[in-house]
């Protein structure tokens, strides 16, 4: 009897908090915080956003009927924001399944092998994985309206149009702004080697994924292997994923950390006391690659999603979130108060698929040695 009364009381309390709680809608409605909606969305004849044609009439009408199913290895927060923005701009529904890239590729390959692939679009953050998916037939060729322009560039379109770069991820470092005043904080990569930061840093181990391998390669190229060793001597806390690391930084478990720009920025605009740094020495870049699956090739909504991602509006939104757009003809968009280098800048050190093929293994091994890490 007592337990029933307690349960009843609790339910009433919960219902009350639900009623009082949040004016916020569901995940990702903060996309307008990242960037204001475009002024000019024209759906009278197909879909045109800010003067750029995303879909013709037939495609757009067909697209409104079914949701897009997106499997992504990119960061959760940024995908939530991106999918919410897509629906807001196009009116088309999208279902997101997000898992870390290595788990995702296992899943996708298994589903595909059993002819049960549920995804229309698959986005991964590792070029080796993307090529494997393409070889397995998970990706099929598709030409979005901007294809020709992209195909002319390096590192934008791959394998006969089977997959392309939606944008690039940037890896840099950040610190807890509630613990450190701006004058105390590290400003350059070399600052991180200062003894002040011994046991105060966080890093993600290089074997965790393409983005972190890219960072390790950047450090080796820019500063030499010795940089890694000295960073390892700082006894940083080693994490398996960026998201857990960002959480630890926000709580103050660590004072500073090397981390992905866009996911950290996402946490920052949600109120985490984190300050990012875009050091003059440069930042590392890695790929966010996507392609249509055989199912997606028959889905109008999926095609509109790819078209939108590669449109000026989609690329601007990516930039505002903290990615580097694949297209270099979009106007430079700041990320809040930060300005990331563009894809063709010499401060942007991209880890290309050839690099990944040749150097991933040795880079990870060098990193593991420097940090005395196994696995």
């Amino acid at each position: 009897m007592r337990t029933k009364a307690a349960a009843l009381t609790m339910s009433v309390l919960l219902a009350a908090t639900a009623a009082c709680g949040g004016g916020h809608a569901d995940d990702g409605a903060g996309h307008e915080q990242v960037l204001a909606m475009p002024d000019d969305i024209d759906t009278s004849d197909g879909l045109t956003i800010e003067g750029e044609r995303i879909a013709d009439d037939d495609l757009y009408e067909a697209a409104k009927k079914d949701p897009v199913v997106l499997y992504s290895g990119s960061g959760q927060k940024s995908e939530d924001l991106t999918t919410a923005r897509f629906t807001a701009e196009t009116g088309i529904d999208i279902q997101l399944m997000r898992m870390p890239t290595s788990k995702l590729s296992e899943r996708v390959l298994s589903e595909h092998g059993a002819n049960q692939l549920q995804a229309d679009v698959v986005r991964v953050t590792d070029p080796i994985v993307a090529q494997r998916l393409s070889d397995a037939g998970v990706y099929v060729p598709y030409r979005s309206p901007t294809y020709d322009e992209l195909a002319g560039k390096d590192n934008a379109v791959f394998d006969g149009g089977r997959y392309l770069t939606s944008y690039y991820s940037v890896y840099t470092f950040a610190y807890n702004s509630a613990m450190l005043a701006p004058e105390e904080a590290p400003k350059t990569w070399r600052d991180l080697l200062d003894p002040t930061w011994e046991k105060e840093l966080g890093v993600v181990h290089a074997g965790a994924g393409g983005t972190v391998t890219a960072l390790a390669a950047f450090h080796i190229d820019r500063f030499g292997v010795n940089y890694l060793r000295r960073l390892g001597e700082q006894s940083p806390r080693i994490f398996d994923t960026t998201s857990v690391q960002i959480e630890a930084l926000a709580r103050g478990e660590i004072s500073a950390a090397t981390l992905g720009f866009n996911s950290t920025y996402g946490a920052k605009i949600e109120g985490a006391p984190i300050e990012l740094v875009v050091p003059d020495e440069g930042v590392s870049g890695s790929f966010n690659l996507m392609g249509l699956t055989p199912g997606g090739a028959h889905s109008a909504a999926a095609k509109v999603f790819v078209n939108w991602t590669m449109s000026k509006s989609g690329q601007k939104f990516a930039a505002a979130q903290g990615f580097v757009p694949a297209r270099t003809d979009t106007p430079k968009t700041p990320t809040g108060k930060y300005q990331l280098p563009s894809a063709d800048s010499d401060k942007f050190h991209l880890f290309t698929p050839e690099d990944a093929e040749k150097r991933s293994g040795s880079t990870v091994r060098a990193w593991n040695d420097a940090f005395e890490f196994t696995g």
């Binding site: 927060k77 788990k103 709580r251």
Partner: protein
């Protein structure tokens, strides 16, 4: 001469006219009695396990559409990796220590509630049970919030109070403590059910012959409780040994590797090193199989019958001056396992900033926002995940209990051939890290022509498979301890075996059957690692949603809010079978 009709006054009971003579009555051939069960259990468990075994020695990962068998021994090279030995030793150390701690806590609480005059017995029983509501990873998350060296709430509190000490939960002691606390209820339930059914005659005899209470406990009670002690020790050890989420949340930040986190890292490496993970998994299977075989050997030779139909109550022991200290022990356990973690989760859920230097910060305006709970409660993700979780958990627990009883009966009460094999197979899931079993199940159900993949049905099947050992253990100790004579007598008097089971054995075992259902229900609601590979967008369950929010989304606040609501749901869910079982128990 007249012949008098002789009326029989005594003699064998009259046989009903339609029943054929006993020796011609058809009986299922003994050898085949266990066959259907054997086939079912093998399929549920061995096929995924076979995939794992194959992967350990195959070139490439067996995947639908990529099913080439090309054997190799090269993956054994993983044993030469420097971290593997250390991870194994850490796992063993943590496993043994946490098991001892869990037995100590669970055993003490079981003993005081089942056999003594401790105050507020019902409340103490609940205390022993309650940590089951907190899935171990939620408990680990909460303890991470409480005692992380930099920003843990307890450490902030200690700083506020001017005490210089710092707790560091990211340590061996921390991991052992949390695991021991959260697995103690398993030991508690098994030991409680065993002790409350104990026949008091033997203890009375000890008392009559002048033995002290302590001597009686040592020489009579404890040995009689041995099957339950060994059973729960085995269960807790293998669970702790293969636990992934707690190790990931608490051991990894302290740079302490365990075998499961090592395996997880190998599998998550880019590119994935699934073959090497599978090799390590095979080693785990061998270790635990050895432990299981050892346990059966020890118990096979003794008779532990303590439950008969005589209806006597187990002997109550008076605690004297130990009453209050032991009650205090229970309260401290409640504080550490439930109260502090819940406070940490609630605080984390309602703080607007993740960063806090002192508790005084909470008094600032705008520092707390209880709306987080409302947001979670109204989110589509939460509502769908809850509905799915409850459906799957109840189905899996019911099916699992039935299967466990059938297997347990066949293994411990019959002499059919193949029953040892049946028990062995049923225990296999214990030794396969859930994460690797999860992959095996994914491949199995992708390949099966039955379209269960992507539905809740595949989750139910996966849970039943992975929880076979717990179900069986829950039933086993009780079957071994229940006298078979009563059932056999009924059969001798003409009842069919199944009727005898229903009418006699099941009611005698109602407490343990209710416990088993409860354990399986809790386990299904908590299960995280196995569904990690099996869920799809529309079959998300709560446990996944919480872990995902934290591990992949960095959304600790949302994870904390969901955890609190999740615990309340568990509380309500668990009340139902207890209430029902309680009525049966009277």
């Amino acid at each position: 001469m007249t012949t008098l009709e002789k009326r029989p006054t005594e003699g064998p009971p009259a046989r009903p006219p339609d029943q054929p003579p006993r020796r011609r009555r058809w009986r299922r051939p003994r050898k085949l009695a266990s066959l259907p069960l054997l086939v079912l259990v093998s399929f549920l468990i061995l096929v995924p396990a076979a995939f794992v075994l194959l992967t350990a020695f195959n070139n490439g990962i067996p995947r639908p559409g990529n099913f080439a068998v090309d054997l190799t021994l090269e993956h054994l090279a993983v044993f030469t990796e420097p971290g593997v030995l250390e991870a194994t030793l850490n796992s063993l150390l943590i496993g043994i220590s946490a098991t001892l701690l869990a037995l100590l806590i669970g055993g003490t609480l079981a003993f005081v509630t089942a056999r003594t005059n401790i105050p507020a017995k019902g409340f103490v029983f609940l205390i022993g049970l309650m940590p089951l509501f907190l899935p171990s990873y939620v408990g680990a998350l909460a303890w991470s919030m409480l005692a992380s060296p930099g920003a843990g709430l307890i450490n902030i509190g200690l700083r506020d109070l001017g005490i210089g000490a710092t707790l560091d939960i990211y340590s061996m002691a921390g991991v052992v403590g949390v695991l021991g606390m959260f697995y103690a209820p398993y030991a508690f339930l098994l030991l409680h059910s065993s002790m409350s059914m104990m026949n008091p005659d033997l203890e009375d005899a000890a008392g009559v012959h002048g033995g002290s209470t302590w001597r009686m406990l040592r020489n009579v009670t404890l040995p009689l409780a041995l099957p339950a002690v060994l059973g729960s020790a085995l269960l807790v050890f293998t669970h702790v040994f293969e636990n992934f989420p707690v190790a990931q949340v608490l051991a990894t930040p302290g740079q302490i590797d365990t075998l499961p986190t090592f395996i997880y890292r190998l599998m998550n490496a880019s590119p994935s090193r699934g073959n090497e993970s599978a090799v390590l998994a095979v080693v785990l299977v061998i270790v635990v199989l050895l432990v299981t075989v050892g346990q059966r050997r020890i118990l096979a030779r003794r008779s532990f019958t303590t439950v008969s139909g005589k209806g006597l109550k187990a002997r109550r022991i008076s605690l004297g001056r130990w009453r209050l200290p032991l009650f205090g022990f229970a309260l401290v356990y409640l504080l550490l396992s439930i109260i502090l973690p819940l406070i940490a989760l609630v605080l984390t859920a309602v703080r607007t900033s993740p960063y806090m230097t002192s508790f005084a910060d909470l008094a600032e305006p705008g520092a707390l926002d209880f709306g987080a709970f409302g947001q979670v409660l109204s989110s589509g993700l939460f509502l769908d995940a809850t509905k799915n979780s409850v459906l799957v958990a109840v189905s899996a627990a019911a099916l699992g209990t039935v299967l466990a009883f059938l297997v347990g009966y066949t293994v411990y009460r019959t002499r059919t051939a193949g029953r040892g094999l049946l028990e062995g197979i049923s225990m296999v899931p214990l030794a396969i890290p859930a994460i690797v079993l999860g992959m095996g199940l994914l491949w199995t159900w992708l390949i099966m022509p039955v379209p269960l993949y992507g539905t809740l049905g595949v989750l139910v099947i996966a849970f039943v498979a992975v929880q076979m050992p717990q179900g069986l253990r829950g039933i086993a100790a009780s079957i071994q301890a229940t006298e078979r004579d009563l059932e056999d007598n009924a059969v001798l008097h003409g009842a069919r075996r199944s009727r005898a089971i229903f009418a006699i054995t099941l009611p005698l075992m109602r407490v343990s059957i209710a416990s088993t259902f409860l354990i399986l229900l809790m386990l299904s609601m908590r299960e995280l690692t196995v569904p990690l590979f099996l869920y799809t967008s529309d079959t998300q369950i709560l446990s996944i949603a919480i872990f995902d929010q934290f591990e992949n989304g960095g959304a600790l606040q949302e994870a904390a809010a969901m955890s609190v609501i999740y615990c309340l749901i568990m509380l309500v869910l668990s009340y139902l079978p207890r209430r029902f079982g309680g009525q049966l128990g009277n």
